[in-house]
């Protein structure tokens, strides 16, 4: 499903990813862990197509189609979703309006029929309930005056509504207390599906107590330096990232 081969990414003259290779088959959840500055967020942004993240070599394909060269919105329409580490507030655009615009833009790009307002409201009301979100919050400007936990729930709500093929969760646990973490993790677990790949990027093992990955990869020095089963996360928690320092 997601296949990354020898990816090199440059940000402001500096090469951050230096030949990263990674495969995430459909239906699996993979964790990418690594020390600060290893290039975890760069991987997330490069896959989403953030301007300024220049792919200088290698490929990243989703269902065999190369994502590199597509605009961020075209990637989204192909099914790429990024849950931001720091979600952006957009004053003046109610969350409901934003999400419905996004959903219909994706559908339009895929040649599907748009959702009607009643269909949309019914669906989002149900999902917001699962995430224990106050529905009135969705009438306010997107993420405006939201707490850290509310913003992360908003990200997961968007993921649920947009039903991506590939969900990339960038440090979704940062800034969450234990209750919020559990709710967010339940949302992620409920979104596991046979036709969906998920990439969970995290510094700490904590999130993986709630979201059990099929595979764990260690990213250091711009490459995947080790891969293993879920037990690798526990090992990292115990031993730390020091032994990968030479890779950086």
């Amino acid at each position: 499903m997601l296949s990354i081969d020898n990816l090199h990414v440059r940000v402001a003259e500096a090469e951050i990813l230096k030949g990263l290779s990674l495969d995430v088959p459909a239906g699996e959840v993979h964790a990418v862990m690594g020390p600060n500055g290893a290039g975890k967020s760069t991987l997330a942004y490069a896959l989403a197509g953030r301007p300024g993240y220049e792919v200088t070599a290698g490929t990243a394909t989703l269902d065999g189609e190369d994502l590199v060269g597509l605009t961020p919105d075209a990637r989204a329409a192909k099914g790429v979703f990024l849950s931001f580490q720091y979600p952006v507030a957009i004053p003046g655009v109610p969350a409901l309006t934003f999400l419905r615009t996004a959903l219909n833009a994706q559908k339009k790009a895929r040649g599907e029929a748009e959702v009607t307002a009643p269909e949309f409201l019914k669906a989002i009301r149900a999902r917001a309930g699962e995430l224990k979100m106050d529905f009135d919050m969705l009438r306010r400007g997107l993420n405006v005056d939201f707490s850290g936990g509310e913003k992360k729930r908003m990200e997961i709500l968007q993921m649920m509504m947009l039903s991506p093929r590939l969900a990339i969760l960038d440090e979704t646990d940062s800034g969450l207390d234990i209750d919020a973490l559990r709710i967010v993790a339940e949302g992620v677990n409920a979104s596991r599906a046979n036709d969906r790949a998920m990439l969970v990027i995290t510094h700490y093992q904590r999130l993986l107590d709630y979201i059990r990955p099929d595979r764990v990869h260690v990213l250091a020095g711009g490459r995947i330096v080790q891969s293993g089963g879920p037990e690798l996360a526990l090992e990292l928690e115990r031993a730390g990232y020091d032994r990968y320092a030479s890779a950086a």
Partner: protein
């Protein structure tokens, strides 16, 4: 009303040497006299951006009275035509207003009087259907004590190379309210100036929102003499400037007595080679104690060749005054743009959405619901074309 621009008038045009006009130079731009614009043969009825509100309609076309409900208008509006009086009270700082008041041509002025119960409203359409000619118009607006009135004003440019010059004089009596909504759609080749002099009685409320997309050179100027005494002013504006257009929103509020409020919010967007100008001055005269005034101007510059010039000024000579101002000029938030695109919204649509959200706060302050809807729809349309 008057017509034309004589050779002797050219020297009266404000230039960059006039501090208040340094960004909107007319003398350097208009170098030849212009003939007066001809009156139109037919009445220009039913049209313009405010048509759906169904207000009493007054049309001035090429500076000439074109259509008006004579005598008692509907909904508590009297419309009368007077021989234009001279205007010694007009501020020397408003050269274009003096030109409109004193110029030759149609010697009549039109006066609207809002009176009676209910919420009277009127629509004044200033239509320019002229080419390479000049016209002036003058309108007086009186709001009688206790009346709650709506004045909609549309500037409809349907010609090219015209110079349109309008003077609006507004008097709001004690405990009366007036909301003035202005939508300007001048031609890209036009020169257009609209000057408003607003006189308030204590206890009066005056609210204003201007939406403009500029012209070759265009200015909306509003001067308010504010008596305090519980009088309240809201003075908002929105400029959306593209192409090579120029739009200037200038305001001066003079607080002359204690206990008055002014709340001002202007937002603007400039793209292509467009130029937006905001000049706002609030003066608090000696004795105008406990004045509460705030002024905000915030602009987006969407292209390298677009420009926004801003001059917010507070001059305070009284005590126990709360005056604040904020001024920002910047680009669209790239973080927010990427966020929206990551969710699947194409770039042009995302830019339009963010731009519309940026300016939307001005529209939400419009009190008249129908008017607010008209602004909202028009701004959505215009911001989509800016992105």
């Amino acid at each position: 009303m008057s017509q034309g621009l004589a050779t002797s008038d050219l020297a009266e045009l404000p230039s960059r040497r006039d501090e208040d006009w340094r960004w909107t130079d007319l003398r350097g731009l208009v170098r030849q006299p212009l003939p007066g614009s001809a009156p139109l043969g037919d009445a220009v009825r039913a049209g313009g951006p405010f048509e759906s509100l169904g207000l009493s309609e007054i049309v001035l076309a090429n500076g000439h009275l074109n259509w008006w409900p004579e005598g008692e208008g509907s909904d508590g509006v009297d419309v009368t035509v007077h021989d234009a009086p001279t205007a010694p009270h007009l501020s020397a700082a408003m050269p274009m207003a003096r030109l409109a008041a004193n110029g030759a041509g149609d010697p009549r002025a039109l006066i609207l009087t809002f009176k009676g119960a209910g919420s009277p409203g009127a629509l004044v359409r200033l239509v320019s259907r002229a080419s390479d000619s000049a016209h002036h118009a003058r309108v007086g607006v009186m709001v009688e004590p206790g009346v709650d009135a709506l004045l909609c004003e549309s500037y409809e440019g349907q010609g090219s190379g015209y110079l349109a010059n309008t003077l609006i004089e507004i008097f709001v009596a004690r405990d009366a309210r007036l909301e003035r909504l202005v939508i300007a759609d001048d031609d890209a080749t036009a020169v257009s100036v609209s000057s408003a002099e607003v006189h308030l009685a204590p206890g009066a409320t005056f609210s204003q929102t201007i939406l403009t997309s500029g012209a070759k050179r265009q200015r909306f100027e509003t001067r308010v003499s504010h008596p305090g005494g519980g009088a309240a002013v809201r003075l908002d504006g929105l400029y959306l400037i593209a192409g090579r257009r120029h739009g200037d929103i200038t305001t001066v509020v003079v607080h002359e007595g204690p206990d008055g409020t002014t709340d001002q919010l202007t937002k603007g967007v400039a793209t292509d080679q467009g130029r937006g100008v905001f000049q706002g001055r609030i003066e608090v005269a000696p004795g105008a104690d406990r004045t509460d005034a705030k002024m905000g101007h915030h602009a987006l510059v969407l292209s390298d060749h677009a420009e926004v010039d801003a001059k917010p000024e507070l001059e305070i000579y009284a005590d126990d005054v709360a005056c604040t101002h904020g001024n920002t000029v910047g680009a669209l938030d790239e973080e927010a743009l990427f966020y929206a695109r990551q969710r699947g919204i194409p770039e042009a649509e995302a830019r339009a959405m963010l731009t519309q959200a940026f300016v939307g706060t001005v529209i939400e302050r419009i009190e008249h619901e129908g008017g607010r809807e008209i602004f909202r729809a028009l701004v959505a349309e215009r911001t989509a074309s800016l992105a």
